[in-house]
Every structure is written in structure tokens, then in C-alpha cells.
Amino acid sequence: MSSRIVTFPVMATEQIVQITTNSDEISEDIETFLAVLSSPSAGATLGVERAAINITDTSSVILEFFPVMYTVLESNVSLTATIVKRTNTTRTVSVLFSTRSGSATGMGINRKRKVGRRGGGGREGRDGVMTYFSSFVQLYPTSLLSLTWL
């Protein structure tokens, strides 16, 4: 908290008080502080003595994959992708993760659809059988999707 005396010269009807705000690299929700008038000099009385000032943060939180390429042996149980947050923030943020078939067929949030193989000898495409196992979130430390390739 800081304070200063604001003096109105004779005939002055208003005075401007500047308050310095410090910018940072943190993405935050709106923050608020109060400006308060007190201790008027003799002969002066206070009307509205409090003003609320909102500081609106316009900075964004950047989310992305890192790394962006993963390789895993087919015999592995799962592949783990990492999403990083590039900006400090006091906010809780979220993003939608999904998978999309390449030459490996599967399903994430995609609807079940005909999926063909690439470079696999021209075999007729089959229904993708990937299922979104949201219940696995409770069973494993990380959230799990299921991918089946044919």
C-alpha cells in the first residue's frame, strides 16, 4: 500500500493521480485493487471515497507438442506424447487432444469411418476400431486413448 497527498489549488476542480502498474510475463485473470481517499483537510468532505481498478491481462498461454515426432515399437503397450505450456500462468487452462489415423488406423475422437491402408498392398479399407477409453484416465497415471492399427 502506498499513499500520497493530493492538493487542489484554488479554483482547481480536478486532479489526476497516476498509478504505475508493472507488466510481467505471467498470463493471469483480471486483477483488482482499490484507490481510496481519506483524511480530507479542514473544510473538505469526502463523497465517493473508493474506486476499484481492474487490470486486464491480454497475454495468452501457449500450448504445444514437444517433441513433435515420436517413435515407438509396435510391441509397446502405449505411446506417450508430451504437451508443454510455454507461458507462466496463474490460470487453469485446457486443450483438446485427439488422434488422427495415418497409415495406422485407429480412432480417437474421430468418428468411426472407413480407413484404408497406405502402401499396404491395396487391401480394402476397414472400419477404424479405435475407441476412446475415457475410463482409463482413472486407471493410469496418464490419460489414455486406444489406438488399433490394422
Partner: protein, 62 residues
């Protein structure tokens, strides 16, 4: 699925289950993508596509 970052969490990991087989089929791939939630504000996406390669290890079975 929605991936949530609490304040001061810098990274999150998401696992995609794989299903093994014994078919010789060569390496295959799929994509992981990030998309903003409709109601999200002040969130920007950097690299929002990752490529996952599944290396075929079925040679010993065929």
C-alpha cells in the same frame, strides 16, 4: 479428450494405447493433434500436430 494444466504445471503427458499383432506390415504412423476448446480464451497453440511412428517389429514372426 481434454488435457488440463493447473497453474504452474508446465507439461502434461497423454498416452495412446497401441495394439500389437504379428503381421509383417512395415512401419506405420498416426497423428496427435491439439485443438482449442470452444470456450477457451487467451490460449494460443504452437505446434499442434505431432507425428507418431509405430515401428513394425514382426519380422521375427514372419
Amino acid at each position: 479428450m481434454v488435457v488440463t494444466f493447473l497453474p504452474f504445471e508446465d507439461s502434461q503427458q497423454v498416452s495412446v494405447m497401441l495394439q500389437n499383432d504379428m503381421i509383417l506390415e512395415g512401419d506405420e504412423n498416426f497423428f496427435c493433434t491439439l485443438n482449442p476448446q470452444p470456450e477457451a480464451s487467451r490460449i494460443s497453440l504452437g505446434t499442434n500436430i505431432a507425428v507418431a511412428t509405430i515401428e513394425d517389429d514382426d519380422r521375427k514372426y514372419n
